[in-house]
C-alpha cells in the first residue's frame, strides 16, 4: 500500500469506496504523520481518539453504502470553529479553556458527511495576523524551508496551522477562515490550494468572529478538485446566520473541465507593485500564458482602488473586532483576572490585558479609536465608502471578464520574527488578498511555482460573487498547466 498520507481527498475518496484501504488505516497513517511533525506546532488540540472512533463509524458507512464524498477523510479544523465538547481557543489565552456546548454549522456539515477530525489547528490569535506568530500557543513552522539556511519560516496566517497540516501531509484537507487573506496567503506560502468562497456561501454560525462583514470560512487542500469537494460539503444556507445567502450549492467538481474556451480573464495593472520580486512577476505572466493556452482570452484591466483596500481594511476589520471581542470580559466564559480588591472595571481591564496578545490589543485599540466620537465619519464611514468603490471596481470589471488573475502574496514565506516589529510591513502581506474580502467575492490561491530559493508561490483567481464554479474551473486549468508537484522535504522527521 502506498503512503496514505500522500493521497488527495479525491484519491482517498475513491480508494475508500473501492475498499482499497479503510478509513481507519487512512486516519492512523495521518495520525502517525502528525505525531512525527509535532515540531511544526500545527495543532492546539489533537483529537486522535475521537478520530479513530469516527473512522470506525465511517468504515461502517462506507460498507453500508451511505457514504458521502468526505466520509472517512481525516481533516484538520482551524481552532476558530466551535466544536461541541472540544476545546476551542481562537489561538488565545482568553479562551484557552473554553469548551463550546455547540457545533459550528460548517463543522456540523463536514461531520454530517462523515469527515474525521484530527485536531484543532493553531492560528493567529482571533485570526489577526499574517504569519501565525500572534498565537498564544506559539508560532506554527512552515514545512517548507530554504535548504541551505535551515531557518524556520512562517506558514502565513492566520490559518497557518491548517495550511501547514495539509502541506506537511499530516491531514488530507483542512478548513480555515479568510478575513483579509487568511486562507489564500498561507496557501501561497505553503504550496497548498486555499479557497475563500463568496461572503454568505458558508455559514459563520459557530465561527468565533473577528470581523463579521469580512469573515469567510473556506477549505485548504492540496488540489483544486479537493477544494471543490470540500466546499460542496461546507457550503449551505443557514437560517441561523442572517448574512447567509439562500442559493443552491452547485456540484463544484463538475465545473472542473480544464477547458476555458470562450472565457476572458482579466489581468489588473494595479497589482503590479513597484519593487515586487521578478519571479512573482514572471510567474504571473506564465499564469496568463497557461490560461491562454487553455483557451481563454487575456485582457488587461484596471481596478483603480486596489491600493486603498488594505488601509480601508485596517479600519473596518479592527472596528468590527473591537465590538466583536467586547464579549471577552471574564464574566460568562474565558479567562478572568481579578486584581485584589478591584471592581468590575478593574476586572475587565486586567482580564483583557492578560487575555489578549499584543497584536489583538493593538487592533482593538485602533478599532475603538476609529469608531469613537469625532472620528467615526473620518475613518469608519470613509473606509466603508472606499470599500463601496472597491466593490464597484470589481463589478465593472466583471462586465468584461469572467475572472481575474493576480499573484496571491507579494512575497514567499519569510523567517519567523522578521516582520513582528513592523506591523505595516506585516499587513502588506495581504495587499493582494484583501480586496476580494472587502468585496465578498470568491477567490482562490493555487500553487504555481517556486521562487529562486525553492519556496512555493501562489497565483490567485478571483470571480464574481457566487461564481465559485467559475473560479474553480479557471483554477483547475491553471493547476494543470502549472503542474506544481514540489513537496516540502520532511526535515522534521529527521
Amino acid at each position: 500500500m502506498s503512503d496514505l498520507t500522500k493521497l488527495t481527498i479525491a484519491q482517498a475518496r475513491d480508494g475508500l469506496k473501492t475498499r482499497d484501504f479503510t478509513s481507519l488505516e487512512l486516519t492512523e497513517a495521518n495520525i502517525r504523520a502528525a505525531e512525527a511533525a509535532t515540531e511544526l506546532n500545527i495543532y492546539i488540540t489533537e483529537t486522535y481518539d475521537l478520530a479513530l472512533q469516527q473512522a470506525k463509524l465511517a468504515d461502517d458507512r462506507l460498507a453500508d453504502g451511505s457514504a458521502a464524498d468526505l466520509t472517512g477523510i481525516p481533516l484538520a479544523i482551524k481552532d476558530l470553529f466551535c466544536t461541541k465538547g472540544i476545546k476551542t481557543t481562537a489561538g488565545s489565552h482568553m479562551l484557552d479553556e473554553f469548551i463550546p456546548t455547540y457545533e459550528s454549522t460548517v463543522t456540523a456539515n463536514l461531520f454530517r458527511d462523515g469527515a474525521i477530525l484530527l485536531g484543532k489547528t493553531n492560528m493567529d490569535e482571533f485570526a489577526m495576523g499574517s504569519s501565525n506568530e500572534t498565537s498564544f500557543f506559539g508560532p506554527v513552522i512552515n514545512p517548507w524551508r530554504v535548504e541551505k539556511e535551515g531557518k524556520n519560516l512562517v506558514p502565513g496566517g492566520s490559518s497557518g496551522g491548517s495550511a501547514a497540516a495539509v502541506a506537511a501531509r499530516t491531514a488530507l484537507g483542512a478548513i480555515g477562515t479568510d478575513t483579509g487573506g487568511s486562507i489564500r496567503q498561507p496557501g501561497s506560502l505553503t504550496g497548498t490550494v486555499g479557497l475563500k468562497p463568496s461572503y454568505g456561501r458558508c455559514s459563520r454560525w459557530g465561527v468565533i468572529a473577528f470581523a463579521s462583514s469580512l469573515d469567510h470560512p473556506g477549505p485548504i487542500t492540496r488540489t483544486v478538485r479537493d477544494a471543490a469537494i470540500m466546499l460542496s460539503s461546507m457550503a449551505s444556507y443557514d437560517e441561523k446566520d442572517s448574512t447567509s445567502v439562500e442559493r443552491k450549492v452547485p456540484d463544484y467538481e463538475a465545473e472542473l473541465t480544464g477547458d476555458l474556451k470562450g472565457m476572458t480573464i482579466g489581468v489588473p495593472r494595479e497589482y503590479r507593485l513597484e519593487g515586487m520580486a521578478d519571479e512573482i512577476e514572471k510567474l504571473w505572466s506564465a499564469g496568463a500564458d497557461w490560461l491562454r493556452d487553455a483557451g481563454a482570452t487575456i485582457k488587461d484591466i484596471s481596478l483603480p482602488h486596489t491600493k486603498y483596500a488594505l488601509p480601508a481594511y485596517y479600519i473596518v476589520a479592527p472596528a468590527e473586532a473591537s465590538s466583536n471581542l467586547a464579549r471577552y470580559d471574564g464574566v460568562r466564559y474565558g479567562l478572568r483576572e481579578m486584581p485584589q480588591g478591584g471592581d468590575l472595571d478593574a476586572m475587565y481591564e486586567a482580564t483583557r490585558a492578560a487575555g489578549f496578545g499584543a497584536e489583538t490589543r493593538r487592533r482593538l485599540i485602533i478599532g475603538t479609536y476609529v469608531l469613537s466620537a469625532g472620528y467615526y465619519d473620518a475613518y469608519y464611514l470613509k473606509a466603508q465608502r472606499v470599500r463601496q468603490r472597491i466593490a464597484e471596481d470589481f463589478n465593472s470589471a466583471f462586465k468584461d471578464v469572467d475572472a481575474i488573475l493576480t499573484p496571491t502574496a507579494p512575497n514567499a514565506a519569510f523567517p519567523i520574527g522578521d516582520k513582528m516589529d513592523d506591523p505595516i510591513a506585516m499587513y502588506l502581506n495581504d495587499i493582494f488578498t484583501v480586496p476580494a474580502d472587502m468585496a465578498g467575492i470568491p477567490a482562490i490561491s493555487v500553487p504555481a511555482g517556486l521562487d529562486n530559493q525553492g519556496l512555493p508561490l501562489g497565483l490567485q483567481i478571483m470571480g464574481p460573487a457566487f461564481e465559485e464554479g467559475v473560479v474553480l474551473k479557471v483554477a483547475y486549468a491553471l493547476e494543470k498547466a502549472a503542474a506544481f508537484d514540489a513537496v516540502p522535504k520532511e526535515w522534521w522527521k529527521a
Binding site: V207, K240, R332
Partner: protein
Amino acid sequence: MNEANRSGIIQGATGEWEMVIGLEVHAQVKSNAKLFSGAATEFGGEPNNHVSLVDAAMPGMLPVINRECVRQAVRTGLAIGAKINKFSIFDRKNYFYADLPQGYQISQFKQPVVGEGCLTIELKDGSTKEIGIERLHLEQDAGKSLHDQHPDLTYVDLNRSGVALMEIVSMPDMRTPEEAGAYVRKLRTILRYIGSCDGNMEEGSMRADVNVSVRRAGAELGTRCEIKNVNSIRFIMQAIRYEAQRQVDILEDGGTIEQQTRLYDPGKGETRAMRSKEEAHDYRYFPDPDLLPLEFDDDFINEARESLPELPDVRKARLEETLGLNAYNASLLVAEKENADYYEALLSAFEGLTGKPATELATTAANWVTGDFFGLLNKAGKSVSESPVGPEAGAGLLALVADGTISGRTAKDVFEIMFETGKAADVIVDEQGLKQVSDQGELEAIIARIIADNPGQVEQYKGGKDKLFGFFVGQVMKATGGKANPKLVNELLRGTLDK
C-alpha cells in the same frame, strides 16, 4: 410641594423657572420569543433559564430578527400616527456592563424603524395638548444585575437579555409633572389597546428615562439631567418635581447644571447621580455587521394597519358623537380597551333586551358601568376581565330597571348579589321577591289608607307645606317594603293629594 411647582413653574428668589421635560419610554414588545433569539420572553423563572447561546453572547453566535417584534413596532408607530421607515438600520451601541453579554446592545441609532409622530394628552382641566414624538426604535434589553444577594458579589441573570424593547422618544414638549404623567398614561393606554406591550410597570415591561431641565420662561433649553429607569407614573412625577427643584436651587445659588445620569430613590424621594455612569460615554455606534438593513414593503405596513383596533381617541369621539356620552364618561370608558369593550357589549345586549335605540340607553348604561360597576370592581380589586358579571348579565340588570320590574335602588342590591354569586339579575329578583309593586289598584288602596291615617299631614300639605310630599312617599314605601314603583307612587300621590 407648592401649587406653583404643580403648575410647572418654580418660583425662585431671582424669578420664575420653567420645567422642560422629555421622556424616553422603554416598552417591552409583546412577543413569545426574544428580538434576536428563540428564547422565551416569559417573566420570572429560574435564573439563566430563558437564555439561548445568542443571548449569552457565546463566541460565534449570531442574531436573527423576530418578525413579530418588527410588526409590533410598526403597529405602534401607526397608532401614534408616526412615519414608518421601510428601510432602517440596526446599530451596535458599545459599552461594558456586567449584564450586557455582547459588550454592545443592538439598537437603532441613525435610522430608526419609526420616525416622527404625535400623542394627544388630556389634562385634568379637560384641556388637551399635543406632545411630539421624535422616534421609536427597536433594541435589546439587557440582563439583570442583583446587587443585594451577596456581600461582595453582584449576581447576573440573563433571562431578560435580548428581550425586544421599543424605545419611544418624546420631544421635550412637556412642561409639568402632570403632563408627563398624562403622557405616560396615554402611551400606556395605546400600547395596551393595540397589544404591542402589556404596559405592566411593576414587572418592568414599561419604564421611562426622564430628561429634566429648567429655564427662564421662553429662554434657551437648559442643561438636562437624565433620570434612568423610573418604573411608575407616580415616581416619574415625583422625580421630575424633585429634580427640577434641585436644579433651580443650584442655579439660584449661582451654580451650573452638570449633564448627568441620575437615579430616583422612591424611599427618599430624591434623585442622585449614578456612580457607574460617572464617566463620559462614547458608545461608538456603527451598523451591526451581523445583520442587514431592516426592510419591508407597503403590504407589510398595510397588514399591520389593518390589524389595529379602533384607537382610544377615535373611540372616545365616537362614543361622544354617536351615543351622546359626556366627555367624562367617554374618557373613563376608553382608558382601557377592555372597559370600552365591556361597555359596548353591554349596550348592545341592553338594546336587544329592551328593543330601544342605543342612543336612548347609552347614558344610562355608561353611568352604571362607570358608577356601580367600576365601584364594585375597585372595591374587589378586580379588573373588568375578572368581573364575575359579564356584559350580558349587566344588561339584564339594567333591563329590569328600564321596564320597571325593580327600582334603581333595588338594582344596586341585586348587583351586589350578582357580583357575589354570579347569578342572573332576574333569578335574584324572583328568589328574593324584589319585584316592585306596580299594580295601580293595590297602590291606590295603600295610598287611600295612608291618607285616612294621617289627616293632619294631609291638611298641612294642602296648606302649602310641599315638603310633606316626601313623607307620603316614604309611608307608601314603608308599607310595601320598599318595593313600590317610585314613579307610579309619585303619580298616584300627586293625583290624590293635589286634587
